[in-house]
C-alpha cells in the first residue's frame, strides 16, 4: 500500500494472517505437547469400578488464573482435600516442570477433591493453557467426569471491558452461562459486545454444546498482580447452591488471602 509520502508499506489485516496462506507452515508448527491427564491410583481404581469409566461428581469448580486460584485456595480448599489428578499441556523440550507450579515454565493444572464432600471436584489452573490447546485440554478434563454442574472462575484486565459508559467500580464481575443452567447467577450477565476467549471460553463452549449446566464468572481487575480485592471479588459466587456448604468466610480464609498477596509481592519487588 502506498502512503501519502510515497513509501510502500506492508498492509496487515486484523482479521487475516498472511502466514496462513503458506501451505508449508503446517509442517513448521512447534510441537508443544498435547494435554495429558493423569489420575491418582485411587481414582484410577474408582474409574475402573464405575460403569462408564466416569467419576461421580455433582459440581466441577474450575479456577483459571492467579486471582481465581487464590480465591479457591483460600475459601474452598481451606479444609482437607486430596490430590486426585493433574493435567499437563504445552510442554516443549526446553521446559522444566516442577509439579508444584513454582517454576515459570510449569504447565501443570491440579485436580482436587474435598474430603468432606467427595462429589465436589476442584481444578486449579494457574499455568497458562494456550488457546490452541484449550479444546483438547477441555476434552481431557471432561473425559472422566460425569455431566454435572460446572462453575468456572476466570479473570482478565478491566481494559478489556467494552462499554458505552465506564462507570463500573473496578474490580467487578460479570457472568455467562450455558442455556441449560437454571439457577440465578450471582452477578449481572456480560453485556454485548464483550467476549471471552481461550480456556474459559473453551470450557463453556464444551458445556453449551454438550448441554451441561455451566456458569462462567469473569472478573475484571485493574491490578496486574493479585491483591486481596482481586480475590474477594469472587465472594458472591459462594452463594451458589453447591458451594454454600463448603465455603468458609472466616479468619482462616483472610490469613490465606494475606499470605498469597505477600508471596506475590515478594516475587514482584518493582513497586513497593
Amino acid at each position: 500500500m502506498a502512503t501519502f509520502f510515497g513509501e510502500v508499506l506492508d498492509v496487515a489485516s486484523r482479521a487475516f494472517d498472511a502466514d496462513d496462506d503458506d501451505e508449508d507452515y503446517e509442517e513448521k508448527i512447534t510441537q508443544a505437547s498435547s494435554p495429558i491427564l493423569r489420575w491418582s491410583p485411587g481414582i484410577r481404581s474408582e474409574l475402573k469400578q464405575s460403569q462408564d469409566n466416569v467419576l461421580n461428581c455433582s459440581l466441577l469448580l474450575l479456577a483459571i488464573g492467579p486471582a481465581p486460584t487464590g480465591f479457591v485456595q483460600s475459601y474452598v480448599l481451606s479444609e482437607e482435600y486430596e490430590d486426585i489428578g493433574v493435567i499437563i499441556s504445552g510442554l516443549t523440550s526446553k521446559d522444566n516442570n516442577s509439579f508444584q507450579q513454582s517454576l515459570h515454565t510449569d504447565k501443570s493444572c491440579f485436580v482436587y477433591r474435598l474430603k468432606r464432600r467427595p462429589d465436589i471436584v476442584v481444578c486449579q489452573c494457574n499455568a497458562r493453557v494456550s488457546a490452541e490447546q484449550a479444546f483438547h485440554w477441555t476434552e481431557k478434563l471432561f473425559s472422566n467426569i460425569k455431566k454435572s454442574c460446572v462453575v468456572i472462575l476466570a479473570s482478565t484486565q478491566s481494559t478489556e471491558y467494552k462499554a458505552l459508559e465506564q462507570n463500573q467500580t473496578i474490580p467487578f464481575m460479570k457472568c455467562l452461562c450455558s442455556s441449560v443452567f437454571t439457577e440465578k447467577p450471582s452477578c449481572d450477565y456480560l453485556p454485548q459486545p464483550n467476549t471471552v476467549s481461550e480456556l474459559p471460553a473453551a470450557v463453556l463452549n464444551h458445556c453449551q454444546v454438550h448441554s451441561i449446566p455451566a456458569i462462567l464468572y469473569m472478573a475484571y481487575l485493574d491490578s496486574v498482580h493479585i491483591d486481596a480485592a482481586s480475590m474477594k471479588v469472587f465472594l458472591p459466587v459462594l452463594d451458589n447452591t453447591f458451594l454454600k456448604e463448603v465455603s468458609k468466610v472466616n479468619g482462616k480464609a483472610e490469613k490465606s488471602v494475606k499470605k498469597l498477596v505477600e508471596l506475590n509481592t515478594i516475587q514482584n519487588p518493582l513497586y513497593i
Binding site: 503446517e26 458505552l164 455467562l176 452461562c177 450477565y189 476467549s197 463453556l204 453449551q208
Partner: protein
C-alpha cells in the same frame, strides 16, 4: 464436527448452505451477522471443532438493550425452514496449521448432509487488484463445475456477475511445486489474497465435486460495514431471501445486530484530560 441442538431438525437435504471465511475486514462474518439478524434465523447446532480458536459471548443477536444471557459460541449453525437456508457463523480465526483439516471436515459434513449448494462469503485485499479490476464493480465469484451446471446462467447472464480473473503465479511451474499438479483444472491459478480458507475450500470443493460458489468483494481494513452490505445485498439478489424484494438502500434493508455495538472499541474516560 456438527452437533445439533436438542429437538431441532437434522435433515437439510436440498438446503443452501452459506458460510463465511475469516478474511480481510471480516466481511464474510459481518455479512452472515446481517443475514441471521434480518431473517430471524434460528440456531440449530454447532460446528464443534479443535480447528477454530475458542470464543464466547452473550446475546449476539438480541434486539434492544436487554441482556438476556443467551450464550453464543465459536461456530454456530442457523437455519430457516421457509427459505431453505442454513447459515454458519464463525467468530474466531483458525488454529494455525489446521486450516486443511477444517476444510476436509467441512467438506465431509457438506457431503453427508447433501446440501443443494454451498456459498462461501469472503473478501480479498483491494491493494492486490489487477489494473483491470480497479475500475468497475468490486464483486467477483468463483463456481465449481458442479455448480456451474445449475447456476452459471443465473450468475453470468441474469445477475451479470464477473468471474474472478485467474492469476498465473509469477514464479510459474518451474520452481518444483509438485502440489500444483494435484489442483484440478477449474481451480488452477485462483488467487484470493486475504481470503482466508476460500482458495483451499474451493480447491477441495473442485476435487470432491461439491456445488460450491465463492463470493467475494475487494476491500481494505477499516470500516467494513458498507462492504458487508454490498456482499449481502448481492447474495440476496441471487437467493431472493428478503420478502417482497423490499425497496430501499442496503442500510435500510438489513438489520444490524447488537454485537456490532462499539465496533471500534469503547469510549475513553474523559477525566484523564
Amino acid at each position: 464436527m456438527y452437533v445439533g441442538c436438542p429437538n431441532t431438525p437434522n435433515d437439510f437435504k436440498g438446503y443452501t448452505l452459506v458460510l463465511p471465511a475469516v478474511s480481510v475486514g471480516n466481511v464474510g462474518q459481518l455479512s452472515v451477522d446481517l443475514l441471521v439478524t434480518t431473517l430471524g434465523l434460528v440456531r440449530v447446532g454447532y460446528l464443534h471443532s479443535d480447528c477454530v480458536l475458542p470464543v464466547c459471548g452473550n446475546d449476539a443477536f438480541s434486539v434492544g438493550k436487554d441482556t438476556q444471557g443467551s450464550l453464543v459460541t465459536t461456530t454456530e449453525v442457523y437455519y430457516s425452514e421457509e427459505k431453505k437456508i442454513v447459515v454458519v457463523q464463525q467468530r474466531a480465526p483458525h488454529v494455525k496449521g489446521k486450516q486443511n483439516e477444517y476444510c476436509t471436515s467441512l467438506i465431509e459434513w457438506i457431503q453427508s448432509y447433501q446440501f443443494d449448494k454451498v456459498i462461501l462469503l469472503t473478501s480479498s485485499y483491494s491493494h492486490e487488484r489487477l489494473d483491470s479490476q480497479i475500475q468497475g464493480g468490486r464483486l467477483r465469484y468463483l463456481a465449481t463445475t458442479a455448480l456451474q451446471q445449475t447456476c452459471e446462467d443465473t450468475l453470468q447472464n441474469e445477475l451479470k456477475w464477473l468471474p474472478l480473473e485467474r492469476r498465473e503465479s509469477v514464479w510459474g511451474k518451474s520452481v518444483g511445486d509438485s502440489k500444483q499438479e494435484d489442483i484440478p483444472e477449474q481451480a488452477k491459478d485462483v488467487f484470493i489474497p486475504g481470503g482466508g480458507i476460500a482458495k483451499r475450500l474451493f480447491v477441495q470443493g473442485c476435487k470432491e465435486n461439491i456445488p460450491l460458489a465463492v463470493l467475494l468483494v475487494f476491500c481494505a481494513e477499516g470500516n467494513n460495514v458498507p462492504d458487508a452490505l454490498t456482499l449481502t445485498s448481492s447474495l440476496n439478489q441471487w437467493l431472493n431471501l428478503l420478502p417482497n424484494q423490499s425497496a430501499g438502500t442496503p442500510l435500510q434493508q438489513w438489520k444490524m445486530p447488537n454485537s456490532w455495538n462499539l465496533l471500534f472499541g469503547s469510549t475513553y474516560d474523559q477525566t484523564i484530560y
